[in-house]
Symmetry: C2
Subunit: 427 residues, 2 copies
């Protein structure tokens, strides 16, 4: 029998429902794993073990509320928590204690889940790295910005963790650490109490080890219908293989892994065809920079004006760049995004999902960079659901992801396609 | 010569630019007016006079930064401020001191403005009233939720104040107090650090005594081009008179005032025709309730679960109603909103702006209700700019507003139309 910390949330929920597992034992197993590994991985900004265990015991004394009942969840440290510090990965907020919980944190608690602690974020969920290491190889970055959540889930410290994505901050670290990253449709998970970067792009999502676990957390929060994965073996999805306009930014092993997956998906029953997204789609990385920096210049106005010396050089450069974006340039970028969303709607009349790279390659060595977000930013701008599943291995033995992108608002069907692809490529 | 507290922001800015006015004198005049009247009007949640005067003196020692330099601004108490308490109109947050300023507050300070204090809000910017009275008649409500901002501006306490609108929280109090209320296009003013209610609807806007002052504040924050009002006398706008599907909810004096304004606008050179928004437009008030309560149930999850006894019965009923909205109902409501936005785009091919009621009538007597928001909520859902100007007087001698609604993203032209209507009806 697996150690309890290795259970998926769905399996743990089933055992809790059957009276075969106590939340306290599950939480204790996760805490034990953290105790063993945290010195190396450094995935957590704050843990209050006693508080987490007390919550678990309280849940064990109650009737089960939802599928989240008794399940430990990691909260990225850009989510406000009233009972744990919230530092946003910035020295400006050392010891900061918000006056309330973020909506998604309060909802997890209401639904019976146990907030295990706060996972490490890069500076304000941007690119300046923090301390977390890749549990697959400690010399490599786990990616960012949701680096603590990706590493903690990959290293069996917690089955579910929140991430946030404005560029590629869920997809990239999930791919680098070899877990499932799910950026839901824009707005599906409530953002109240999440430190704001870019109002038009910021999206709360999940890091998990399985696709059904990703569905579980987001469905419980949003009230979306429960997705049944029973039909996955009989699915014959229509998949558009999309190299994207940034294909040359992917390394050769990544390109080959994706190209070689096409016949395997066809053998598994999928209908795969190539989809070229050209024209204005090639502008989406630039569009994402224009939109996000214009908005970040304003969203971080307090920090930028009061504590410029406590902001990293990299972030300050981006903020000041955002200050130079004119309103007309910003509106033009939003117009391009809107046109590309409409064109993508047409693409999804022919395909159930698109398949694309999750990152340019394996996690880079060193902790000075969190890697290149180029394969996330377009899909973030387009607002639809995106899921990365660990599907391949690179030449250095580190994981590579396959990214599945679906139509805006069709998160359930997209998660089903992602699970289908995951099984087709990993069985 | 007028007292300094009666200057518009635009006039004060011109005098400051010309070296003829000191910010300290302007701020002192506002504080003096507040000292005289606050006992009756109760527009302010927090004022720190010494801090405001110190900021003004600091600005007076510096070169002028922008048009906002040295201008006092009121911040609604749902905007976080690090140096003043922020209570969101709720006993849950008595004495709450956030760790940073809201983006719009930090921007005002960066641009040289002086945050005079925090104006009173209803409970979390919803309908449960707070203490402010209507300065036109203290026995009447000032409306809500931006009640302190509307009353303070109407009573010559400050020339500019922030409001927020999720239903009709700028338009209604502005109309009731006889000032200009401007709800910009969705997203034009950054929302970071504003207590969230409804992510799809919450909009930061302004309460002012003149339309150019509304333009001034929002243009400086957003970087939108400066609107010149010089051409207003020569404008011949095409105006759609829109009774809206809720016309029967307006009282007879309001209906007559609007109907009788049509020939006056035509005499002033406008082309006015009736526009019927029927079909799905009639569902928008219900759509606004569905969207906002689904989102509020989540956004206020912490307060709802931890402090249910400190939430008003009215708000708790709305929150619990939101908990019953299914995801499918929410998505259907968003789809109706989207279809109506597309249909409105067609309407605006023929009209520069629509003219509609701002509220059902004069401000109701008593402080137990903030009045009916029915004439605001549709336009909030539709996301375009809306401006109310004080245009008429009701039978009890209280002001009635005329609401001008423009195409999404066309805030400058809409403000010009609003100014044209204001002059046509008030000259």
């Amino acid at each position: 029998m697996d150690a309890l910390n290795k259970l998926s949330a769905s399996e743990a929920a089933a055992r809790i429902a059957a009276g075969k597992l106590k939340s306290e034992a599950l939480v204790a197993a996760c805490l034990e794993r953290i105790g063993q590994r945290e010195k190396d991985v450094q995935a957590w900004a704050f843990i209050d073990s006693e508080r987490a265990l007390a919550q678990a015991r309280a849940r064990d004394r109650e009737p089960r509320r939802t599928r989240l009942h008794g399940i430990p969840v990691g909260g990225k440290d850009v989510l406000d928590t009233a009972d744990l510090p919230t530092e946003y990965g910035s020295p400006i907020y050392l010891g900061n204690r918000p006056s309330c919980d973020a909506a998604c944190v309060a909802q997890v608690r209401e639904l019976g889940g146990v907030i295990l602690g706060k996972t490490v974020t890069t500076e304000f969920a941007t690119r300046h790295p923090n301390k977390t290491r890749n549990p697959r190889n400690l010399k490599h970055t786990p990616g960012g910005s949701s680096q603590g959540s990706a590493a903690a889930v990959a290293d069996w410290m917690v089955p579910l963790a929140f991430g946030t994505q404005t560029t590629s901050s869920i997809i990239r670290p999930a791919a680098y650490c070899g877990v499932v990253g799910y950026k839901p449709s824009f707005g599906l998970v409530n953002r109240a109490g999440v430190k704001a970067l870019s109002d038009s792009l910021d999206t709360v999502g999940t890091l998990t080890r399985t696709v059904p676990d990703a569905a579980l957390l987001v469905e419980e929060l949003s009230g979306a219908p429960v997705t049944s994965f029973d039909a996955v073996p009989r699915m014959k999805p229509r998949i558009g293989f999309c190299r994207t306009p940034y294909w040359r930014g992917a390394d050769r092993p990544t390109q080959e892994a994706l190209e070689q997956s096409v016949p395997r998906l066809e053998r598994a029953g999928g209908k795969v065809a190539e989809v070229d997204l050209d024209g204005e789609f090639a502008r989406l990385v630039e569009v994402q920079v224009t939109i996000s920096t214009y908005e970040m210049f304003r969203a971080l106005a307090y920090e930028r004006t009061r504590f410029p010396d406590l902001i990293s050089g990299h972030l300050m450069d981006r903020l000041l760049g955002g200050g130079l974006v004119t309103r007309a340039e910003y509106e033009e970028a939003q117009a391009v995004a809107q046109r590309c969303r409409a064109r993508l709607d047409d693409v999804f009349r022919e395909y159930d999902a698109l398949l694309a790279p999750s990152a340019p390659g394996e996690a880079p060595e060193g902790l000075a960079s969190t890697g290149d977000p180029v394969f996330g930013s377009s899909w973030t701008v387009l607002h639809g659901p995106a899921v990365t599943v660990p599907a391949f291995q690179g030449p250095r033995g580190l994981p590579l992801g396959a990214q599945i992108i679906g139509p805006l608002g069709k998160d359930g069907p997209t998660l089903l396609c992602a699970e289908w692809v995951h099984r087709a490529l990993c069985s």
